[in-house]
């Protein structure tokens, strides 16, 4: 056929144009499709960070799995943390497929975690010293995660969008599990009520940080522009944080709890929540593995990884 050149003969620019056309039309990009290099790299970074955060996120709750105060709660939190590990597994597989052309594997993801090149979400660097924290993580951290993940449900990258669909469905159960723990405490003894309020106070700043800085001027860099350009997400960090306030501030207050920010109020004119900014320098420091529990949790992972080396060797020789 004359006049039609085959796809292999297309220039990079033509492929790029075609790619943009596809995502503009709402088409999904699949693992083996052509994609611009910065799209691939952005996805690898985003998805491996998300995946490893699910896995590191199991650690603050891990403390409370054996300690949960009833059989029902033990079963509930076991199921929840198992789901989180499952999310990690699902996401790392998506990331692995994207990394294949670069010759990288899961081993690289783990080594990048240990070396600090691969970061995990700020919230999972924090302490969870009471059962109240175990409830709060399910209620508000998973609640915040639902908001950021729902924002990417229509991501242009098909495998990620499909993984998120499954994850979000489970996150809803996690938030209900967390809310049930919090409700029991909030309606309980004075000691139990104090446990919840302490947890809210302890986690508030980390929850605001969870959505990321408003723009690059705060922390120097921000990936949000690239992810919006490539239709991986739609809303900005600040829009998501506002959605979180709208959803959760009334719920926190209705339980007779307070948020540790006296300036917090809804401004009718701007149609925005006004609040005290978290300390973004602290945020940068935390995700560089200088948070209160960063070293201990990475150490736990690293020790387990080293202790199990003989098992991985055995599996490799068996194959």
């Amino acid at each position: 056929m004359s006049g039609v050149i085959s796809y292999q003969e297309w220039t990079e620019e033509q492929k790029y144009e075609q790619f943009i056309k596809r995502i503009e039309a709402g088409e999904k990009i699949e693992a083996d499709d052509w994609m611009p290099e910065d799209y691939r790299l952005t996805l690898i970074k985003l998805i491996s960070m998300h995946g490893i955060s699910e896995i590191m996120g199991a650690l603050p709750e891990k403390e409370w799995v054996p300690k949960a105060p009833s059989l029902k709660r033990k079963l509930g939190i076991m199921a929840k943390v198992q789901d989180e590990m499952g999310h990690g597994q699902l996401l790392l597989r998506v990331a692995e497929d994207l990394m294949k052309p670069l010759g990288k594997t899961r081993e690289d993801i783990m080594q990048d975690l240990f070396s600090g090149r691969l970061k995990f979400h700020n919230v999972f660097h924090m302490e969870a010293p009471t059962w109240g924290d175990a409830g709060l993580i399910g209620w508000l951290v998973d609640g915040a995660a639902i908001i950021t993940q729902t924002n990417m449900l229509n991501a242009s990258y098909g495998p990620y969008a499909r993984a998120l669909k499954r994850i979000c469905a489970e996150e809803v159960f996690h938030a209900q599990h967390g809310e049930a723990i919090i409700m029991a405490l909030a309606e309980g003894t004075d000691e139990q009520r104090a446990m919840v309020q302490d947890a809210v106070n302890r986690w508030w700043e980390a929850l605001l940080m969870f959505f990321g800085p408003g723009d690059a001027t705060t922390t120097g860099t921000s990936k949000q522009d690239t992810t919006i350009k490539y239709k991986i997400r739609t809303k900005t960090n600040e829009e998501l944080r506002q959605d979180f306030f709208t959803k959760y501030i009334p719920r926190v207050l209705s339980l007779g709890l307070t948020v540790p920010d006296e300036t917090m109020q809804f401004d009718q004119q701007q149609n925005l929540w006004v609040y005290k900014q978290p300390d973004w320098n602290k945020f940068k420091d935390i995700i560089k593995n200088n948070g209160p529990k960063s070293k201990e949790r990475l150490g736990l992972r690293q020790t387990a990884y080293d202790t199990n080396e003989w098992v991985r060797d055995a599996l490799n020789t068996a194959n």
Binding site: I55, P66, K67, G86, Q192, E296, L300, T303, W310, A314
Partner: protein, 272 residues
């Protein structure tokens, strides 16, 4: 014996029945606890997901057995699970042993060979019990055994796969596995025994006799042992660290109980 609510129990049968139920409940409860300490520390992420699913099932089984005790007037399930001293516990000592050196939150250097062997050998023993309990003279227990059994097929397959794979692997795996087998068998009699009331338990038809169950365990395991070139003689089965069925336990159990009931003990009367 079908309806505990309506018919008053012969006290001899009731004490045999509760003795058996405490063993079943406490065994699963403490092993599920040990499994939950492994969370996030398994050899790979896929295994973490699978192992935590098994531990969750096992905790669910413990809850069903505690529920049968609650129904018999032994107290509510949460106080049975969280509120009893070590000396009141009837689990096998093997199942309370720590996973390895270190603490589950910081310095854990857990022994995967021990995890595989302990779980595999125990799950097979549990399977033999559940199969026998399907014909228990106490119908509510037979009903629970049927439910438990459905999940055991997968647990057994899981641990057997690990066992065979590691036994046949080269390098450090084989000696590590053999050391774990020695350790597990050194207290495995404690898993197989039905305790001081074993004869009564069998006489009342609650479950078959201890010796039959033990032979059945050996019968099930022998082909697997053979396939990995291992010879196991029942003469090595022992209770080196005590008979848990009599309430004999180690310091490992005391430490486990204070962890697992830490929040419960803040206020045992509160609703959590």
């Amino acid at each position: 014996m079908n309806k505990p609510d309506n018919k008053p129990f012969d006290p001899a049968i009731k004490s045999a029945l509760t003795a058996l139920l405490y063993q079943l409940a406490d065994d699963d409860f403490i092993l599920a606890y040990r499994g939950s300490e492994w969370l996030g520390l398994a050899p790979h992420i896929e295994e973490d997901v699978a192992f935590s699913s098994i531990s969750q099932d096992t905790m669910g089984h413990a809850a069903m057995f505690y529920q049968l005790l609650e129904d018999l007037g032994e107290g509510n399930i949460d106080s049975l699970a969280h509120g009893r001293e070590a000396s009141e516990r009837k689990n096998a000592v093997l199942l309370e042993m720590v996973n390895g050196p270190g603490h589950y939150l910081s310095t854990a250097q857990y022994d995967w060979a021990f995890a595989v062997v302990r779980n595999y050998f125990y799950v097979q023993a549990k399977k033999v019990r559940m199969d026998s309990l399907k014909n228990s003279s106490y119908q509510p227990l037979a009903d629970v055994a049927l439910k438990v059994n459905m999940e055991l097929y997968y647990h057994l397959l899981h641990w057997k796969t690990w066992f065979v794979q590691l036994m046949q692997a080269g390098g450090e795996a084989r000696p590590r596995m053999e050391a774990a087998i020695k350790k597990v068998l050194g207290d495995f009699e404690g898993v197989l025994t039905l305790g001081p009331l074993g004869n009564e338990i069998a006489e009342h038809g609650l479950i078959e006799a201890e010796e039959r169950l033990k032979q059945r365990w050996l019968f099930m395991m022998e082909p697997v042992f053979e396939s990995v070139n291992l010879s196991v003689s029942e003469s090595v089965f022992a209770m080196k660290n005590g008979n848990g069925r009599k309430g004999e336990h180690t310091a490992d159990l005391d430490a486990a109980l204070s962890t697992l009931s830490e929040v419960y003990n803040v206020d045992p009367a509160a609703s959590w």
